[in-house]
């Protein structure tokens, strides 16, 4: 027998506990309410007391507020599946496990061979006081060159120019495992080689989180094809948008006699690849022709 809701008059299927139109309990108020079906468990809210917060308007039929609290006016206990201790413990365990793993990996990595000792030998720096004459590079078969207003750089076979503007040329080796940046331009105000070096240190320290002189490396003076300056190495982590590399920059910065022009050569590669990249890039560095004096 269909149940008619005493409140809204909607017809409900036999056995409904609530009106499917308005939610009013049907057990007491329905017209022609049948006895509860034997298979259906009796619901505990048969006589729901009204909540204190609501003032339901008087209804012509026995309509009960949908809110009730069998335990009194207090809210029911929250549905907890995962105890809070377990949630916090999971995070603490994560920290401890990852701390252990990270330390173990780092310790194992520390036992691996470190940087090659050839960083200081970057472009065959010539210690001394007399600038070398500009080299006249011998072109290898298939070699070309790249040029801007600051310098001309030989390009051995397979090397490509990745970036070029008025002051800077960046060339990349065939395997893209590193780059050689060659730059020169006017310094305003005038700067010594040491001041240029300080600027480079500051710039890289500002960009990368752990920039520091590479362990065991030395700072020396020398020249590259007539430009007098300073050689040194910086190790840092090259980070950008969620990716990173343990990098090394083998650097040379110089200045002309009155400090009005700067010279920069930077070999950038991974720390593990420094030795081979230095050898590979030697023809490029040795063939640089500075245009600004």
């Amino acid at each position: 027998m269909a149940l008619t809701c005493a409140r809204c008059g909607a017809q409900n299927p036999d056995g409904n506990q609530f009106c499917q139109a308005c939610g009013t309990p049907l057990s007491a108020a329905a017209v022609g309410a049948p006895p509860p079906p034997p298979s259906g468990p009796p619901l505990a809210y048969a006589s729901p007391p009204p909540l204190a917060y609501a003032s339901p308007p008087p209804l012509p039929v026995a309509y009960a507020s949908p809110y009730y609290d069998p335990a009194g006016a207090a809210p029911q206990a929250a549905v907890h599946r995962t105890p809070w201790v377990l949630i916090i413990s999971a995070i603490v365990v994560l920290i401890l496990v990852m701390a252990g793993c990270g330390t173990a990996i780092a310790l194992l990595g520390a036992n691996a061979p470190g940087l090659g000792g050839s960083v200081a030998g970057l472009p065959s720096p010539t210690p001394g006081t007399s600038p070398s004459p500009i080299a006249s590079p011998t072109s290898a078969p298939g070699a070309t060159s790249a040029s801007n207003t600051a310098a001309t750089v030989p390009l051995p076979a397979g090397w490509t120019v990745s970036t070029q503007d008025a002051e800077t040329l960046i060339v990349v080796n065939p395997n893209s495992t590193g780059s050689v940046s060659v730059a020169s331009g006017p310094s305003n105000p005038r700067m010594t080689a040491q001041q240029n070096k300080d600027d480079v240190d500051k710039s890289l320290r500002g960009k990368y989180p752990d920039t520091a002189p590479c362990p065991g490396s030395k700072t020396t003076t020398g020249n590259i094809n007539g430009a007098q300056g300073i050689f040194w190495n910086l190790c840092f982590t090259l980070t950008s948008s969620g990716r990173s590399s343990a990098a090394v920059a083998s650097l040379f910065v110089g200045a002309n006699s009155d400090g009005s022009v700067y010279y920069l050569v930077m070999l950038a590669t991974t720390q593990s690849n420094l030795t081979s990249f230095t050898t590979e890039s030697k023809p490029v560095v040795q063939g640089i022709q500075w245009k600004l004096k």
Partner: protein, 385 residues
């Protein structure tokens, strides 16, 4: 009572249990029908409140929100302690796993996967990890970071080539591939609601984020000494632990939620705007970070920029989800249940008449504990026979 807005006879309450409209309020507190002052998943908050937990963990009840918040804070405190101790490799690993592990606990807590934990977790988090591995390896092949190392003596300049790759190409491609695992989830019909799509998308995005972080930082983790000077690592760790996973999860969640809406035949300006917002936010996040980094701006400003982007994404997700919940909760029949937000014992349809929470966003345990109509209970044994 009769609802002010849908005109149905509904149980007494501050909210209509059918359409969720706020009853008897004035326009001063907001539009009663759209009730954006009462976020449907957590009615104690405004839709425009960029809360991480109540946005990305929408099924959590009131008490659980605080527990997850404290767990997140505990994880961040762990990262800071490891950073201060100079254990950077360990701090990177904790940062990479923190939000995804919290999300895994949340999925278990809310049982969003219902009876299919292996399938859902495999296709969302697992699929995200696989896509993340493939894409990040591909990224490392096509992108050589060394060729974009700028001249440190030149005036601040941005390398356009590098910017186009990192700030435009990669974000767009990522937003295309990240939703794929959730898109191909089998038995999608068992998880029809937009809130399900949102959670699956977030899980997929977080799986991607873990893979991206681990591969991206693998060379650093394996090459850094166990103990190093902390330096400026705190900025990168903050991005890695907080903003990167939130961006990846939010953007993918929003796109997958839109797909779910489309499958329900609801593709309006709000949904199209969600896809556009996800892609634009990812582009703005990546490109902005690169530009600010190349122009040597203080790293704190980079974090502020990232926080602003993630905050805007969170607000749009809440806006999308709120209206989806208002739209979708009405189909639920009347049943007896306990509201996971205010914990009142109620007889309700789609919304708690007391606090207005959309009951489709209730944890699965609460949904299962709803006492259905007796007629359906009586039919079940009959079918078995």
């Amino acid at each position: 009572m009769r609802c002010d807005h849908c005109s149905h006879d509904v149980p007494d309450g501050a909210f209509c249990t059918r359409c969720g409209a706020h009853q008897g309020t004035t326009a001063e507190s907001g539009n009663p029908k759209t009730r954006e002052h009462r976020y449907a998943a957590h009615p104690g908050e405004h839709v425009a409140q960029p809360s991480v937990i109540t946005t990305l963990f929408p099924h959590l009840g009131h008490h659980k929100v605080h527990e997850f918040r404290w767990a997140f804070i505990a994880g961040l405190a762990g990262v800071v302690i490891l950073y201060l101790a100079g254990l950077i490799a360990a701090a990177i690993l904790v940062s990479a796993f923190l939000v995804p592990v919290l999300y895994l606990i949340y999925l278990y807590e809310a049982q969003v996967y219902r009876d299919e934990p292996a399938m859902v977790l495999g296709f969302t988090i697992g699929g995200g990890i696989v896509v993340g591995i493939v894409f990040t390896v591909f990224e490392r092949i096509v992108y050589n970071p060394f060729q974009y190392v700028a001249n440190p003596l030149a005036n601040a300049s941005v390398n356009i080539g590098g910017l186009l790759i990192l700030g435009l190409l990669f974000p767009v491609v990522q937003e295309v591939v990240k939703p794929l695992p959730a898109f191909f989830l089998p038995k999608r019909a068992d998880f029809p609601e937009t809130v399900d799509g949102l959670v699956f998308g977030i899980a997929s995005g977080l799986g991607f984020s873990v893979a991206e972080a681990l591969i991206g930082f693998s060379s650093v983790v394996t090459s850094l000494p166990a103990h190093v000077a902390p330096g400026n690592w705190i900025y990168d760790l903050t991005t890695l632990a907080v903003f990167q996973p939130l961006l990846q999860g939010s953007a993918t969640g929003m796109i997958v939620a839109t797909i779910w809406r489309y499958r329900r035949g609801r593709l309006g300006q709000r949904e199209i705007g969600a896809v556009a917002m996800a892609i634009l936010a990812h582009i703005a996040f990546s490109a902005g970070t690169e530009v600010l980094k190349e122009t040597s701006v203080n790293a704190l400003f980079i974090l502020i920029w990232q926080a602003a982007i993630v905050g805007a994404l969170l607000i749009y997700i809440r806006y999308l989800l709120h209206h989806a919940l208002l739209d979708e909760a009405a189909h639920m029949g009347f049943a007896e249940t306990v509201c996971p937000s205010c914990h009142m014992h109620i007889v309700a349809s789609g919304f708690c008449p007391n606090c207005g929470m959309a009951l489709t966003a209730a944890p699965n345990a609460v949904k299962r504990s709803r006492r259905p109509r007796v007629d359906s209970m009586a039919e079940a044994p009959a079918k078995k026979r």
